[in-house]
Symmetry: C2
Subunit: 119 residues, 2 copies
């Protein structure tokens, strides 16, 4: 029972938050090994990260992977997301919660950039 | 003489801007079809987009592809980047300046997310 929480920054612009939710819906429809995949936000949109993790646990997850949908290792990735995760980890010491590498850490991002650049 | 400008938002945190510059340096070292690849920023870091495009043109580009290193089609992608591009396009009507799809528009981002999630 391992579930995935894709975490974006969150925007005042509802359409940007919906774009993240749609991405996560598309991921849910692809073949994968997770019990459940959900979107959550660092701020400005719901659910926030702790609420998202708690919901996955309430739905049966014994393990949660938190995946930062961020391009750079800024304060949000380095400090804020781990702090939010710690809140729930302290509440639920029997659940394994890990934080995966943020999107921008992948060298494959460059391959996509070249493809986009070449239309 | 086609050159590529990878455009990020820009951050008050110098390390985040350097992360973008390093990505672009790595891209420059990969096999590609561009005369030159540069980083530029919408705000908070140098060069800004118009300056970046002007520098590529000064270095010989007759065509410039502007690639938004952004995850969602927010105001920055939809309005601000095109407005900055228009400033230089109006100055240099003989140069072909195009804006490529932003990073988040690629379905392959999902493949990377699954890979990151699976460690």
């Amino acid at each position: 029972m391992k579930s995935l929480l894709v975490v974006a920054h969150g925007s005042r612009r509802a359409q940007s938050n919906d774009e993240v939710r749609q991405l996560v819906d598309k991921m849910s429809g692809m073949p994968h090994e997770f019990t459940e995949i959900k979107a959550a936000f660092l701020e400005l949109a719901e659910p926030l990260i702790p609420g998202g993790i708690r919901e996955l646990i309430a739905n049966g997850a014994r393990e949660v992977v938190v995946l930062p949908y961020f391009l750079s290792a800024g304060r949000h990735v380095v400090e804020d997301i781990p702090a939010d995760v710690k809140v729930v980890q302290d509440e639920k010491p029997d659940i394994k919660i890990t934080i995966a590498s943020y999107l921008g850490a992948s060298d494959e991002v460059m391959d996509i950039l070249f493809k986009q650049a070449n239309g």
